[in-house]
Symmetry: none
Subunit: 193 residues, 4 copies
DNA sequence: GATGAATGAGCTTTCATTCAT
DNA sequence: AATGAATGAAAGCTCATTCAT
């Protein structure tokens, strides 16, 4: 399997670095190849085309979020605690890998609709795990019973995403991780006094 | 002033149509010129370059949101009511203009980082009005006193944005306006039961 | 009409020169543009793509043969004389334009099947005029009555083509025109003593 | 000698199949290797380069024509009969091997000038045997004494070639062999009534 | 002898922008 | 002010060939 060969990951990682440092539209295949330490043609032994690299970047890296989230869900804590851990996990992964943060929050969004659609399919798995948490909290009475799952999903993900994007745009100047509990509390209690 | 001449708006509107119908990367200057009924070169009498068109599109159209929001703020209702009206306003403007919805939620996000930074500056005025509502609610005791304005802003805008984007991606199949009260209630009360 | 603008012919002629001097596979669009004294992009204002240039070369130049042949046919001479004039015409046009001779006999044949199919369509018009001569000669008794038009066409065109190709391959060292009457006599009388 | 090892012929035959089925420009070395059941690198143990494969294809297959023609010449018949047998032989070999017919009449002609020059050298042996027939017919009075050997060669070969190419282009729909006697008669008696 | 992973040179086409009219 | 013909830079991908195993 190509995905398991060392050069596959090597190229994926090179792509993240190149895109983060040069921007999406300045991330030429030849630059990625150079960064990965392989010839241009070698890229095409592992990826169908440039688009395939970008989607694979997202798939491979999104895997981190999903795997962690699965572990979080299966531990015995409350739904609220799971939600907190999810926010922390999301923040932590991106706070740890600055390049990746730039790529997912800013650069990859410049891709064309076709690529974005495929990226969204990958995202769906993540959002379905979020739905699992929300449904569980609903059923065990932790969350208010009128809660609209779809809207709650939008709120949770939208808040997380907007918070991280702003942090990235501010050049990651402050400590993102510190915001996790406050974001969690806000999502849980809303704004009303 | 160029902004007041008829051809300026003509070109802006043409840009919205062309981008919505062809996608960001297929919105060539020549197509916009044709749609606007002017020659390619004429575009450059009104705009510095293509980038300038895109930013102007956002500036002109964002004006709608801002103006409406200012009116909303200055009426005598409670902060919570203002927040509801803001969500309704945001939803209404985009639900009314399908082309504009596609352009702001999907297509314009494919622009490069530089353009997006400038678009964000335009957004700032809108977000500052949102901050005004939040501060007011904080001061008059409607909102909980530990509320972190910045995070609340992320939550409100992130939720609105995520909700609309999903609606656009689902080809605007359901009634967006109907979601406004529920979104508002969710933001106000949070998820906790 | 694009075909009538001066730059159209300018580019066609440049293509003939570049292909003749560099060979089919070394005739890059940029070389043709340079030879024509225009920018690379200008080529694409007059031609859909590179393939379109090559087919147009053949169409434009083949026009010479066809037009001359039409004039020949409509004059009052015998079928045999018409055949002689056809051979002379074919030889003369290519003997006069060495570049064109190389292009039609050697280089253009390297094009892919698709282009060759389109070139053949152009050729068909020429061969149909040849058929007209053959049919006439058959009907007025100049040619033997068992003559198979299709085979005769193959013989006439095959002989002409093979003769010219050999002449081009021998670097056009001898006088092609001088061969015309002998070729004509051979076609008319066959080899039998 | 490499030519005698089984893999040599194996690769040659694979090349004919691949070129016939995929066309000249889609006949990559890796495809030929796969069809031959060997590794890409193995090709280069038997052939200097890709060009060498193509020329060898022609050499090996042309051997069939030449050998047959030698046998024909050395039997005791008249020059005219030899010419008929030559046409029949040429038609038969290609009518029997459809792949080969496509390769020699259409695909191999797309090769570059250099390869075609070398192919022509291979052809020369065949054409020299044709010359032998023509000279003999001239000396024994079967052919008219003013016959220009070179032109007669062009006529014979050009007619044969044009006839076969047209047959191949028409997807070999009719019986090529049936045309042999008529082609022979036409070459012998010419068109004059 | 045989393999096949790796190499890297090479080219068509698009499109934002200009400027002579 | 308006036009639109002309410009020219820029990049993804293929495939013949090599060479370590």
């Amino acid at each position: 399997m190509k995905r398991d060969k060392p050069k596959f990951k090597q190229i994926i990682d090179a792509a993240v670095v190149v895109i983060a440092e040069n921007g999406y539209h300045q991330a030429q295949v030849s630059k990625i190849a150079k960064q990965a330490g392989v010839a241009d043609g070698t890229i095409y032994l592992y990826f169908k085309n440039k688009e395939d690299i970008l989607i694979s970047v997202f798939q491979e890296k999104m895997g981190l979020f999903v795997e962690n989230l699965k572990a979080i869900i299966s531990d015995g804590s409350t739904s609220s605690e799971k939600l907190l851990k999810m926010v922390e996990n999301h923040f932590r992964v991106l706070a740890t890998d600055h390049h990746l943060a730039i790529v997912t929050q800013l650069e990859l969004r410049q891709s064309n609709k076709e690529i974005r659609m495929k990226i969204n399919e990958v995202l769906k798995e993540y959002l379905m795990l979020l739905d699992d948490i929300l449904i569980e909290g609903l059923e065990n009475g932790e969350f208010q019973e009128e809660l609209d799952i779809r809207l709650a999903r939008h709120m949770v993900f939208g808040t997380i995403d907007e918070t991280i994007t702003t942090w990235v745009m501010n050049e990651q100047k402050y400590d993102l991780m510190k915001l996790a509990p406050k974001v969690h509390r806000l999502l849980m209690s809303g704004m009303k006094s």
